[in-house]
């Protein structure tokens, strides 16, 4: 269940390849790439919020769509007014993706530890878990 987003990611790419869409070339491809970066950040953010139990559907979906559009058009606008907003978008979303991934990792670790302790508590007679007093 939890790995469904990852599988969906692969399926999405497979669909694009299966219907033989031409990959975008030139500057357009570059703007699309930066929009992808924004999308990755949003999905990681949604994943994190889900693990933390703070997930809100409306916030996630509007955030995903608007982040992608903003990243694309900011990069495009930057090139029209000769300010390199492309870099700004890449740096901001790159940093946020890293932060989100770090938080996901911490959350996952916490959950794993919780799970371990609960397992121990449920069957204290298990030989794999030495009791606290022995050491």
């Amino acid at each position: 269940m939890i790995f469904l987003p990852v599988i969906a990611l692969i399926i999405g790419a497979a669909i694009a390849i299966a219907i033989r869409l031409e990959p975008v070339g030139g500057a357009g491809g570059q703007y699309l790439a930066v929009a992808c970066l924004a999308g990755i950040d949003s999905v990681c953010g949604g994943f994190r919020a889900g693990l933390e139990g703070k997930f809100r559907n409306d916030v996630f979906i509007t955030g995903f769509v608007s982040n992608i559009l903003i990243a694309f058009f900011l990069a495009w606008l930057g090139d029209r007014i000769y300010i390199d907003l492309f870099l700004a978008v890449a740096i901001v979303f790159g940093t946020r993706t890293f932060q989100n991934l770090a938080l996901i990792r911490r959350q996952a670790l916490t959950m794993f530890n919780d799970y371990q302790t609960r397992k121990q508590r449920n069957n204290p007679a298990a030989p794999a878990a030495p009791s606290d007093g022995n050491s």
């Binding site: 269940m1 939890i2 469904l4 987003p5 990852v6 599988i7 969906a8 990611l9 692969i10 399926i11 999405g12 790419a13 497979a14 669909i15 694009a16 390849i17 869409l21 031409e22 990959p23 975008v24 070339g25 030139g26 500057a27 491809g29 570059q30 699309l32 790439a33 929009a35 992808c36 999308g39 990755i40 949003s42 999905v43 949604g46 994943f47 919020a49 889900g50 693990l51 139990g53 997930f55 559907n57 996630f60 979906i61 995903f64 992608i68 930057g78 090139d79 000769y82 390199d84 492309f86 870099l87 890449a90 996952a108 959950m111 794993f112 919780d114 799970y115 609960r118």
Partner: protein
């Protein structure tokens, strides 16, 4: 059993995230750098803004339309000149010398034997040479320039690069991923047609240590030369007006 299922009470977030993930995967596949768009994406790899800005400036469709129109008008002009010359022998002589000058300067179609040279980027580095535009694996403007120069030197009477006729005002430049011939964008594979004695031209092109030998050293499949018995080169369709130079008037 996944370890995360311990908290499966509120997993409503998985579906929306998966859906957006699907869209994201789709987008990533479109933004992927592949064999086809590798060339056009390569110059943006260093994230230079100027490259991206210059890229959008040329409107190719409008240019093609204009060029077709020019060709049409040139044909009409030819027909008019011919009909004018029909009346007297003086006009006929005049027209003959006019046509000669026009064919010399590349303003008329030219037919004859010659050779066709194809220059294309090496396919060897597909995907791996990304971001390194300086390698010998791609055809540069200087390669085209040197081939054309060598053809002129070996007696070619007319040369066209990707259907663009080379005249006295021809220029070759490199902008981003493309080569500009007479300020018109072309890209690999580049087809250079030359009218002249096929044997001489072939000999000059296959000269050991010549220009093409250089390119072949990198990858033999980058160059292909064919002999052609008869071909037609289109006329030059660019501007022929002069703004600064004037022909001096001879006083009697």
């Amino acid at each position: 059993m996944s370890i995360f299922n311990a908290r499966s009470e509120s997993q409503s977030w998985v579906w929306p995230v998966s859906l957006m993930s699907l869209i994201l995967g789709f987008m990533c596949a479109l933004a992927w750098v592949t064999q086809e768009n590798r060339k056009s994406r390569r110059p943006f790899a260093n994230q230079q803004q100027t490259t991206r800005i210059n890229e959008g400036q040329v409107d190719i469709d409008a240019f093609d339309q204009l060029q077709a129109r020019v060709q049409e008008l040139l044909k009409k002009n030819d027909a008019l000149e011919k009909s004018l010359s029909g009346s007297s022998s003086q006009a006929k002589t005049l027209n003959e010398s006019l046509q000669e000058v026009k064919s010399f300067s590349g303003l008329t179609e030219l037919e004859g034997p010659g050779i066709v040279i194809f220059l294309k980027d090496s396919g060897r580095t597909a995907g791996s040479g990304f971001g390194n535009a300086e390698t010998g694996d791609i055809i540069h403007d200087t390669d085209v320039l040197r081939v054309v120069n060598e053809l002129q030197a070996s007696g070619a009477e007319a040369i066209a690069v990707n259907e663009h006729r080379i005249t006295g005002r021809a220029s070759f430049r490199c902008v981003g991923p493309t080569i500009l011939v007479n300020d018109i964008k072309i890209s690999s594979p580049i087809e250079i047609r030359a009218i002249g004695d096929p044997k001489t031209l072939l000999g000059a092109m296959n000269l050991p240590g010549g220009i093409l030998a250089d390119i072949r050293q990198t990858d033999p499949s980058m160059v292909e030369i064919n002999e052609v018995k008869k071909m037609t080169l289109k006329p030059y369709t660019g501007s022929t007006s002069a703004r600064f130079g004037k022909v001096p008037v001879v006083k009697k």
